[in-house]
């Protein structure tokens, strides 16, 4: 699966990438929303941090969904299924995450 990881923290990008690659995924990363918009074209899943500066979250998600397969929110905040659904995202994974949860969300 081709996955785009969008997070403004470099450490999170590199270690999440490492983990996903170890599980056989192809990974690209973006440190900003502007960059993500271009990198998202044709990827299967976008794993996106909820606090990316730029457009509001809902618009970012809509724009990413237009060019990528699915958008999974990647969040350090307390979030319920309802909160996630309200943003329009396809799923969400809470940080820190266990690979099993992420794998489940990727399916």
């Amino acid at each position: 699966m081709k996955i785009l990881v969008v997070d403004d923290e470099e450490d999170i990008r590199t270690t999440t990438r490492l983990l996903l690659e170890m599980h056989g995924h192809k990974v690209v990363t973006s440190g900003s929303w502007q960059e993500a918009r271009d990198s998202a074209v044709g990827v299967d899943v976008v794993l996106q941090d909820v606090r990316m500066p730029g457009l509001d979250l809902e618009s970012q998600i809509t724009a990413l969904q237009a060019v990528a397969g699915r958008v999974i929110l990647f969040t350090g905040e307390q979030m319920t299924d309802l909160d996630a659904a309200a943003t329009g995202a396809d799923a969400f994974v809470q940080k820190p995450f266990h690979m099993d949860e992420l794998t489940a969300a990727l399916r």
């Binding site: 923290e9 450490d11 350090g76 820190p96």
Partner: protein, 339 residues
């Protein structure tokens, strides 16, 4: 013995205001009684306002707000309302007075000053908002390094041969997290520690700070331009923290400049700390004061210094503002009580 003093004398002794008003044929509201301590203080006693309507007594926005409340009172509204005059707050308790037909002919009531109460309430609300934002940031920002640790641990579990490689990274991340917790505790202490306000030699504090930074890295060339004779009032420990953070940021963000320059001077009655460093995005001027907000990810930092600075300045009753643009340096101006 019961003392038969006139009611007027009793009312005069009250710090509050006792009022009685009616509408005249022109539709405007006039007072037939307005007495008590506050009425005297504002020169609005019955004698002084005789023949003047509400519009003539209060100007601009104040008139509009008060008129709406009084008009509602003439419709039977008895809910108390608060109005603000020159930063002070007054609570009105209106009651309609009806004639035999049940028509409201007058509004009577009293007015109390509630400034202290309103201020305490505002302070509490601010504290509550801060706390909320803080809890939000803490949960979010502590999870970041935790995520890195968790990712690395899972990577090692999958491929134990990587252990050697990730150990240092794990340690760095734990260290970062520990720094963050330390900064958070310091931040919370700046809100709670009692203040000891006295005269301050701001010039001296700034010079001491510059020296400390110079000693940190003797290889760095930086010009400290510190104005003479800057005096103010404040808590010396706390103002030191303010300058340490602002000058420290300036020091850090000018690291790449060939002719790095940091100045501390007075401008428009405020103290300005400026530099010719990397600056920040124009739209970040407010954002950068929020806890854990980091504009310069490539530099070390925990993102709580400016939040601490803002909190200290506000505890001193002052204000702080930032100005900057990418590549063109940053300027921070804060106010303190004059010496």
């Amino acid at each position: 013995m019961h003392d038969e003093r006139p009611l007027q004398e009793v009312v005069d002794l009250m710090p509050d205001v006792l009022f009685r008003c009616h509408r005249e044929a022109d539709g405007k509201i006039y007072w037939s009684l307005n007495e008590g301590g506050l009425a005297r203080e504002f020169h609005l006693t019955t004698q002084e306002i005789r023949g003047k309507s509400l519009e003539e007594l209060f100007e601009g926005g104040a008139s509009q707000a008060i008129r709406e409340h009084f008009e509602a009172a003439f419709e039977g509204e008895t809910a108390p309302f608060v109005n603000e005059i020159e930063g002070r707050y007054f609570k009105h308790f209106p009651q309609p007075l009806r004639n035999d037909q049940g028509k409201i002919v007058e509004v009577v009531g009293f007015i109390s000053e509630v400034t202290e109460l309103v201020e305490a309430q505002q302070k509490l609300e601010r504290a509550y908002q801060d706390l909320d934002a803080f809890a939000h940031s803490v949960s979010h920002d502590l999870r970041s390094p935790l995520t890195v640790v968790s990712n690395l641990v899972q990577a090692v579990q999958m491929a134990p041969e990587n252990l050697q490689q990730v150990t240092q990274r794990l340690q760095d991340t734990v260290h970062k997290m520990d720094n963050m917790i330390g900064a958070m505790l310091a931040f919370s202490r700046t809100t709670q520690a009692p203040m000891h306000v006295g005269s301050l030699d701001v010039t001296n504090i700034a010079k001491e700070m510059a020296q400390i930074f110079d000693e940190q890295d003797e290889g760095r060339r930086i010009t400290w331009d510190i104005a003479q004779d800057m005096q103010a009032r404040g808590d010396p420990q706390m103002v030191r923290v303010v300058l340490q953070n602002l000058m420290g940021n300036a020091y850090k963000y000018t690291a790449g400049q060939a002719d790095a320059r940091v100045w501390v001077r007075e401008a428009d009655g405020k103290i300005e700390v400026g530099d010719n460093g990397i600056g920040f995005a124009e739209d970040a001027a407010t954002r950068i004061f929020a806890p854990f907000q980091r504009e310069a990810q490539e530099f070390e930092g925990h993102g709580i210094g400016l939040a601490t600075v803002k909190r200290i300045v506000e505890r001193h009753g002052g204000q702080i503002e930032a100005e900057g643009s990418p590549g063109k340096g940053a300027r921070f101006r804060f106010s303190l009580e004059p010496a």
